[in-house]
Amino acid sequence: MVLNKVLITLFFLLTLSNSGYAIDKKYLSGLQFPIGTEVSYKQIRFIKSTNFKLESSGLLKVHTNKIEWHQINPFVHIITMKDGVMTSGDGNTSEEVKNPIATKMARIMFDLFQGNFLALEKVFTMKASSPGINLSLTPINKDFAGFIKGIELVGNKNVEKFYLEEKSGNSLTIKFFNFIKMKKLK
């Protein structure tokens, strides 16, 4: 519910700020998946040159001190981010992910989901447009500007879609749903 309020506020502000204008970051501080929530996702990874779509689905869980990306289909794969350390496993065993790009990428996405826009500001230029919540991020950091063309967050009452487009034409679309079933975690 808190998220809904935040998103409605944000929508209101974005509408006022007119399309294409840079948003005041103070209004963005509320855009987040609140701690103790769980949301279902369906991901489509599109590889342009193959015209092929790889589908996967699972849950995104936001804990007090960690975020968990829990892929269920086509196979179980759990990625967690805790205190800046990323681990990958299948529920029984896990190992630390040392790839710096993957870690940075995970950090950015979790910052987005947590509404940590102060950190994102160092990496992206952010713009909002109406109607609805439509937030565009363009990378300014050279690590990401080399391969990411842009990121968009789309939604109405809730964040409904995360869209990342690479410069190569490949893209990643994640749709979030089942917010109603979202429950508080212990």
Partner: protein
């Protein structure tokens, strides 16, 4: 008598015209610097193949457009393409610009059997990363890029899976046709210049009108270098010839003050030159531009012969042309013999341009002797005799006399001369053929920009492979590719694009074995179904040509030459890795794979020849000394040879003092200094009685020779100016020292 004069004058005037009209159709001027330095280079099957490869590149034209955006470059490229199509100077393109865009995916769209050696290895070892859990995790993870994992996976190439995904060959629009050089996009247009129209093509290219003024254009073609070099050398040879003739005529006019001498000298020079040109082009089938330029120096020597004759006409005792000829016969023949020996050395040199120069000089000078003997004597006209004897010594004579009087040990020059030449042998001479000519600056800058833009790095190193057919050459190239890749040496391989049938069959078999697991794979990982394709098939060069007609690599397939099929593998110049530096390109024991470094080959040849010139002069002077010693006595022989020796030392030392590196053309100049020095010495030696007229004739001929070589020193071609400068200095020195031949001689 008058009738005979008219007849001879008609022959002298008409024969050159007739010869020119006859052989002008067959007369060809070669502008290729490399072939001018080594004609025999193309004697073997391998080298014929190499020549064919070079010829295939010679008319290739590349135009690079540099601007702010690819769209505006594209529009300009369309405009230029249409313009070039409307001109006969450029062959119509058989591929449009857009054909290049999907070049990299061609093989996969057509399900062609191509796998890199690395991918074949992965297939063989069943290293299918996409089937491994860790790789799958990365592919599906939103936090990592699937790209790096998939490009390594041979499964990515199986039809119905990641079809068209990976590009196993480094053939992309970016590294072949577009390049973000200094962050500005560059578009490359490729064409072929129509054979024989290179000159007008260059004019069109230099004056291209672009629609968009913000776009810069650069053009480059090997053929254009030839046009610029030809026009530069033609301009120089015509200007220098004219300048030399004018200087000779001015000298004649001021000395003889007679139109008769002027006309006879001019007609004789033209006659002898055209005979020389005819004979040398008959012998060699062509004349090189540099030979023509160096040939200008012969005009001065020819004029010497005419001067000696005309001056003798002034002698009091001369009552007929025949008398005048007889009185100069001895020095004339001796000087011709010395020149002949000098030019025979040139004619026997391994460099074609020197051979041509040698034959041209011998035939022209021989013709000049005949013209004096049978032509000029018929135009004998006694002139008012001047005082033939007296004490009016020339500057050079006073100089030598002072040295002789002071008992300066000039003979010490002999051991110094020998030591000097040996030191010269030991000194490293700069004989890099690339330094002999000065390429056009604009073309060189354009070439540099374009090569950087398209990543073209080929130099002068190549492998040439031969076998009985294309298939076998491809198989041999794959062996070579394996070894070069292992040594980190980069090269352009035909098999990168057209693997041998043997390798293709192996790839198809690997594809098929992988395909069998595909259905289960797709089902397991819930992938979207895609259309089934017909599977992979092997392909041939014809198939490839039909789809992508404009690839450079086709030129590497040289086809059947004699009984063998040849292909060529150009190596990249920059081999910066340690492994590449340690790689010895000559390690291959297979006689059908030959390493060729054109520059190294020719430079080595030139260097060894420059060594033999130094030895040759020592041996030549020794033999000549013995001959003259028998004929005129040891002291007289020494007196005749000494001025030449001193002049060589002075000329070469001056070049060293000027800070210019000694090259083969300086050394060849010493041969001419030796011959011309002996020429002057003979005239002084045979004039021991001290005729002022003989002295004048030597001074006059020195002036004409100096003017012709001095003019060559002005040439922008480094080789020609080196030759001109050293001979110019040497001749001045010869004139200064020549009186020693009689002042130092033992009076009979």
């Amino acid at each position: 008598m008058i009738k005979r004069q008219y007849l001879i004058l008609s022959i002298l005037c008409l024969l050159p015209v007739l010869l020119f009209s006859f052989y002008s159709r067959f007369f060809s001027i070669n502008t290729d610097v490399l072939t001018s330095l080594n004609r025999d280079y193309f004697a073997t099957g391998f080298s014929t193949a190499f020549e064919q490869y070079e010829n295939s590149l010679s008319r290739d034209l590349v135009i690079a457009l540099k601007g702010e955006g690819l769209n505006e470059l594209g529009l300009e490229a369309d405009h230029i393409t249409a313009f070039l199509d409307s001109k006969d100077e450029f062959e119509k393109s058989d591929a449009s610009r857009s054909d290049f865009k999907n070049l990299g995916q061609f093989y996969f769209e057509n399900h062609m059997a191509i796998l890199t050696p690395k991918q074949r290895g992965l297939f063989k070892n069943k290293q299918f990363k996409t089937l491994e859990a860790s790789a799958l995790k990365k592919i599906y993870s939103p936090f990592s890029s699937a790209l790096s994992t998939l490009t390594l996976d041979p499964y990515a190439l199986v039809p119905g899976f990641f079809e068209n995904f990976a590009k196993p060959v480094s053939l992309t629009p970016h590294n072949q046709y577009f390049k973000n050089n200094d962050l500005k996009p560059t578009l490359i247009i490729r064409r072929k210049i129509t054979a024989g129209l290179e000159e007008s093509a260059l004019k069109i290219l230099a004056n291209l009108k672009l629609k968009n003024q913000n776009i810069k254009y650069y053009y480059s073609s090997l053929g254009l270098y030839g046009v610029v070099a030809r026009s530069q050398a033609m301009d120089e040879s015509s200007t220098f010839s004219l300048l030399t003739i004018v200087l000779i005529l001015i000298t004649f006019f001021f000395y003889f003050k007679s139109l008769r001498h002027l006309v006879l000298c001019l007609v004789s020079i033209v006659f002898c030159t055209s005979i020389g040109l005819y004979i040398s082009s008959f012998v060699f089938g062509e004349i090189h531009l540099m030979s023509l330029l160096m040939g200008i120096s012969i005009l001065g020597i020819m004029a010497d012969y005419f001067i000696h004759y005309f001056i003798k006409e002034k002698e009091e005792v001369t009552i007929s042309g025949h008398d005048a000829f007889l009185s100069i016969k001895k020095p004339l023949l001796w000087s011709f013999i010395t020149s002949l020996i000098g030019f025979i050395i040139f004619a026997l040199a391994p460099l074609p341009l020197l051979q041509e120069f040698g034959v041209f000089s011998i035939s022209s000078l021989f013709c000049a002797i005949l013209v004096v003997r049978f032509g000029l004597v018929s135009f004998f006209k006694p002139t008012k005799p001047k005082s033939n004897k007296g004490n009016q010594l020339g500057l050079n004579e006073r100089f030598i006399k002072a040295l002789v009087k002071k008992n300066i040990r000039i003979w010490m020059i002999v051991p110094i001369f020998i030591c000097f030449l040996f030191l010269l042998v030991l000194k490293n001479t700069n004989n890099d053929i690339r330094s002999f000519s000065t390429p056009d600056k604009i073309l060189r800058q354009n070439e540099s920009f374009i090569k950087n833009s398209i990543g073209y790095k080929y130099g002068y190193e190549f492998y040439i492979i031969r076998a009985s057919n294309l298939e076998e050459t491809l198989e041999l190239e794959e062996v070579l590719k394996g070894k070069l890749t292992k040594a980190s040496v980069r090269a352009s391989f035909l098999t990168h694009y057209l693997p041998s049938q043997k390798t293709q069959k192996e790839s198809i078999s690997l594809y098929q074995s992988a395909s069998e697991n595909m259905d289960a794979f797709i089902k397991k990982f819930k992938m979207e179904a895609v259309d089934k394709t017909s599977g992979h098939k092997s392909f041939t060069l014809d198939h490839l040509k039909g789809k992508n007609p404009n690839l450079d690599i086709y030129k590497q397939n040289l086809g059947k030459i004699g009984e063998f099929h040849y292909i060529i593998v150009p190596l990249y110049i920059s081999q910066e890795s340690t492994a590449a530096k340690q790689f010895d390109p000559r390690i291959f024991e297979d006689k059908n794979i030959v390493y060729m470094n054109k520059l190294e080959f020719i430079n080595k040849d030139v260097s060894s020849f420059s060594l033999s010139i130094s030895y040759g002069i020592i041996i030549f002077s020794f033999i000549f000394f013995i001959i003259l010693g028998f004929r005129f006595g040891v002291i007289n022989a020494g007196a005749i040879i000494l001025p030449s020796m001193i002049s060589i030392i002075i000329a070469i030392s001056s070049i060293l003092v000027l800070g210019v590196g000694i090259n083969i053309f300086h050394l060849l100049g010493t041969v001419l200094i030796f011959a011309l020095g002996l020429d002057y010495s003979f005239f002084y030696f045979f004039n021991r009685k001290g005729s002022i007229l003989t002295r004048s004739s030597i001074e006059l001929s020195t002036l004409t020779t100096i003017s012709s070589f001095g003019v060559l020193a002005l040439s922008s071609t480094h080789a020609v100016s080196s030759f001109g400068t050293v001979v110019f200095i040497g001749i001045v020195s010869c004139w200064l020292w020549a009186p020693f031949s009689y002042l130092g001689a033992k009076n009979e």
